[in-house]
């Protein structure tokens, strides 16, 4: 079967299961006896296995199969979910993620899979002896009998034969697997009939199996005899013989899709009984969603944007006409398109949960590595914001959290000495605030001493000592975002990617957001990240330069000024103007953009913008006023032009460029 077209769907679904497993595993770690979580994890692993097998990803199927075994033992209570087991499972999840990223070259992960599978097996063996394990591993999972086969068994049983279910495991190093399988077949024909082989005979001949296969045979021989004879064959590592499960239950392994449907139905039944579990509610919400390609969505949004632009034209036309009919029709159109636009824009909104979900795991690993005790509280994960923001906010948040674990929370000993609980708390919270989303990362750690910050800044040559003396505490604190000041000195897994605090600020500002910091020494530090709800629409000031209209994002604008030519002074060849005893450098936007600027005789219109803590006055020809604009990206062919962040379409259908203030000044 050609499965390539399902690949993306598989990946998306598999990642969801993986994320779910990660979260559940964290829950399990805090409450090893939570059977419901175990049940959920088992189901997730089982579904993953089925999906992977259907898609022909054998390594994935193998690994998840082993995980399923471990989870099964945990579920049955024969194995305890201690830290070691949890770590092995976490490792398996990481490996699964790696495998998902390398679907096309699974061979590169072969060794790791072997290693982790070994660990998982060892974990199982810790609870049961091997023969039992092999038996349990099969557990009828890949076995299903059709009516014909069942009939064969019935006939055989009537003739005094017994149906036996065999699982044969070959040495991992076995080279001629098909030959060994053939020998097993030959031998079994001596004992009786083979009713069924899983995988099928053809797959076995073509070596399309890992290291094991299953047979159902009809025989009169004793189990021990069969086992002993089979083990005589070279490279047969293990054999289990047991009853054929009473006319086998569901067809799990072979038709996972169908099996999953069955599962869903049964889940629905369960969830109606025990509706109060929050997890189930979330799952039910997920069932109400539909996957849509982002391209299709963007196209829709684009078209609605066009509709809105045209609406504006029609509304304007309607104003010039006196016909009452037309006026009311136009008003109606106006209302509908506005509603339509906001409905469509909402399609882009996704809960921030998508990003937050990976943090508990990260904080756990990090605090373990650093020898700290940290409890991460996540709040407001249902807060929705634009998909593109959600995609970009991950890295900055990773860095803020990492900063809190690394530098904020003290080691347990120190905390106890200072009369704090041994376990530190980091709160990650998101909430709406007007047309913004506020994300707060706060810790109850040691806080930041501003004197040290200043000292360090002076050492690094970022400040002169007189400048340092004049600085307020707040200003000093913001030094943390200054280029060249990252406090993370050691290169570690996460911050090693070069995301310093300055990069955090840059990324957030590139999304028209802002970041701020508050601290109280000894009590903790709080980072506030303010993000617009959507990147697609921003407020902007429209200005005219050399006959063209440009948009400046309002976030970057501090104020507008009118400056008389005689107030402009020249310092070292640069034009500046004095505003409230502050020296403001001026940039003539027209010159900057290589256009012929308009008149410069009269009073100049100046837009004061700020980026990277630097204020600059942009001299424009005309200030046209504020407007909400829909951001369109520039084509790949012309992207990366300095000073231009994107484009928008104005009410008259013309394109206006959006200026990127940070690269202009």
């Amino acid at each position: 079967m050609d499965t390539s077209e399902y690949r993306d769907l598989f990946l998306a679904e598999a990642r969801e299961y993986l994320q779910g497993l990660n979260i559940a595993l964290l829950q399990l770690e805090s409450d090893p006896a939570d059977r419901e979580v175990l049940q959920e994890m088992f189901r997730a692993a089982h579904s993953l296995k089925g999906m992977s097998a259907t898609m022909g990803y054998q390594l994935l199927a193998n690994l998840t199969h082993q995980m399923e075994n471990v989870l099964d033992f945990l579920r049955q209570g024969t194995l305890r979910a201690d830290r070691d087991v949890a770590n092995i499972l976490f490792e398996s999840l990481d490996l699964l993620e790696l495998l998902l990223g390398r679907l096309d070259e699974p061979a590169s992960c072969l060794e790791q899979v072997d290693r982790v599978v070994g660990k998982l097996r060892a974990a199982c063996e810790g609870s049961k002896d091997e023969a039992d394990f092999v038996g349990n591993a099969a557990d009828g999972d890949n076995l299903s009998l059709d009516e014909f086969e069942k009939e064969m068994i019935r006939v055989g049983c009537a003739a005094g034969e017994r149906a036996r279910h065999l699982e044969v495991v070959l040495d991992a190093s076995c080279l001629l697997k098909s030959v060994r399988a053939y020998m097993v077949f030959k031998l079994m024909e001596k004992f009786g009939h083979i009713v069924k082989a899983v995988p099928g005979t053809q797959e076995l001949e073509e070596e399309q199996f890992e290291d094991r296969f299953q047979l159902v045979i009809l025989t009169q021989a004793a189990d021990e005899t069969i086992r002993a004879e089979l083990l005589q064959i070279a490279e047969v590592a293990a054999v289990s013989v047991r009853d054929v499960p009473e006319m086998v239950e569901t067809s799990a392994g072979l038709e996972p899709a169908a099996a999953r449907r069955v599962e869903l139905v049964s889940e629905t039944a369960i969830s109606q009984e025990e509706l109060n579990g929050e997890r189930r509610n979330i799952r039910r919400a997920a069932e109400k969603t539909i996957r849509v390609e982002t391209d299709k969505l963007d196209k829709l949004i684009n078209l609605v944007g066009e509709l809105v632009v045209n609406r504006t034209r029609v509304v304007e036309l309607g104003r010039t006409d006196v016909a009452a009919e037309l006026v009311s029709a136009v008003e109606q159109l106006d209302r509908i398109t506005t509603d339509l636009q906001s409905a469509v824009m909402k399609l882009r909104m996704v809960p921030i949960k998508q990003v937050f979900d990976r943090f508990p795991r990260m904080v756990r690993d990090l605090s373990q590595e650093k020898g700290k005790k940290v409890n991460l509280e996540v709040r407001g994960e249902e807060t929705e914001l634009d998909r593109s923001i959600v995609n970009q906010i991950g890295d900055p948040l990773v860095h803020l959290l990492r900063n809190s674990v690394d530098h904020g929370i003290e080691p347990p000993g120190v905390r106890v000495q200072n009369g704090k609980p041994e376990e530190g708390t980091i709160v990650l919270e998101a909430r709406h605030e007007g047309s913004y989303v506020l994300i707060r990362v706060s810790d109850d750690g040691r806080g930041i001493a501003t004197e040290e910050m200043l000292q360090k800044a002076v050492e690094k040559g970022l400040l002169s000592s007189t400048e340092a003396q004049r600085m307020s505490d707040e200003e000093a604190l913001r030094l943390i975002f200054r280029n060249g000041f990252s406090t993370a000195e050691q290169v570690t897994d996460i911050s090693g990617r070069g995301v310093g605090m300055d990069a955090v600020k840059t990324v957030i500002e590139s999304m028209n957001g802002s970041v701020d910091i508050k601290t109280s020494p000894g009590e903790g530090t709080r980072f506030y990240v303010r993000l617009p709800l959507t990147l697609a629409i921003i407020k902007a000031m429209l200005v005219e330069v050399a006959g063209e209209i440009y948009a400046i994002p309002i976030e970057a604008i501090r104020e507008n000024l009118y400056v008389a030519p005689q107030d402009i002074k020249t310092i070292q060849g640069e034009k500046v103007v004095n505003v409230r005893s502050e020296v403001l450098p001026l940039i003539y936007l027209g010159e900057m953009l290589g256009m012929k600027s308009g008149s410069s005789e009269e009073i100049l219109s100046v837009v004061v913008v700020e980026a990277a803590e630097r204020k600059t006055g942009l001299v424009v020809d005309v200030l046209l006023g504020q407007q909400e604009i829909v951001i369109k990206s520039l084509s790949r062919a012309v992207e990366g032009i300095r000073g231009v962040a994107g484009a928008t379409v104005l009410g008259n259908g013309r394109v206006a460029l959006i200026l990127d203030v940070s690269s202009l000044i």
Partner: protein, 173 residues
């Protein structure tokens, strides 16, 4: 009857359909498969500090699309745009791009056998942009190769050096 049969055999599936246009008196054409639509010149917003041959960007039903002035691209004499001037929207690797041409004439059907490989230099345009020259009766039609239409001079030079002996570019079909 027989002649009819022959005719259909002579027009196999791989016959090329091209959109033909004029540029400073020369006839050019692009593969119709790459052409999305042909527009009259809309207002064009200039892009500061972009490549010289990029005339600016236009709004095509809500999408912002860069426009290349083919005269500038091929270093032909600049001329005022008449109302016959059109923008041919083509789809290339980088996305949709508009090409400003003097006028668009027709859709041509051309048999691949009527297309010759490009000479080294032609009408002052670089051969990087030409995939072949089509013959239709007395007409000579320069068939454009769009892949490199947005490359800078430097990129083109570099490629020239790297392709040790580009002798004859195979027809890019």
């Amino acid at each position: 009857m027989k002649s009819l049969m022959e005719k259909t055999e002579e027009q196999p599936q791989d016959e090329l359909q091209l959109v033909a246009f004029f540029l400073q008196g020369e006839e050019f054409a692009v593969d119709i498969q790459k052409v999305r639509e042909v527009l009259k010149l809309p207002p064009i917003t200039p892009l500061p500090q972009s490549l010289e041959f990029i005339e600016g960007v236009i709004n095509l039903r809500g999408e912002v699309i860069p426009v290349v002035d083919l005269r500038k691209r091929f270093r032909l004499a600049d001329a005022a745009k008449s109302d016959k001037a059109r923008i041919i929207i083509v789809e290339i690797e980088e996305g949709m791009v508009g090409l400003i041409v003097d006028s668009v004439t027709e859709v041509l059907h051309l048999n691949p056998s009527a297309i010759e490989l490009p000479p080294r230099r032609l009408a002052g345009t670089r051969t990087e942009f030409i995939s072949g020259v089509g013959k239709l009766g007395e007409r000579l039609i320069i068939i454009l190769r769009l892949e490199k239409i947005l490359s800078t001079e430097e990129q083109l030079e570099l490629e020239h050096l790297q392709l040790a002996e580009p002798e004859r570019m195979p027809l890019n079909r």
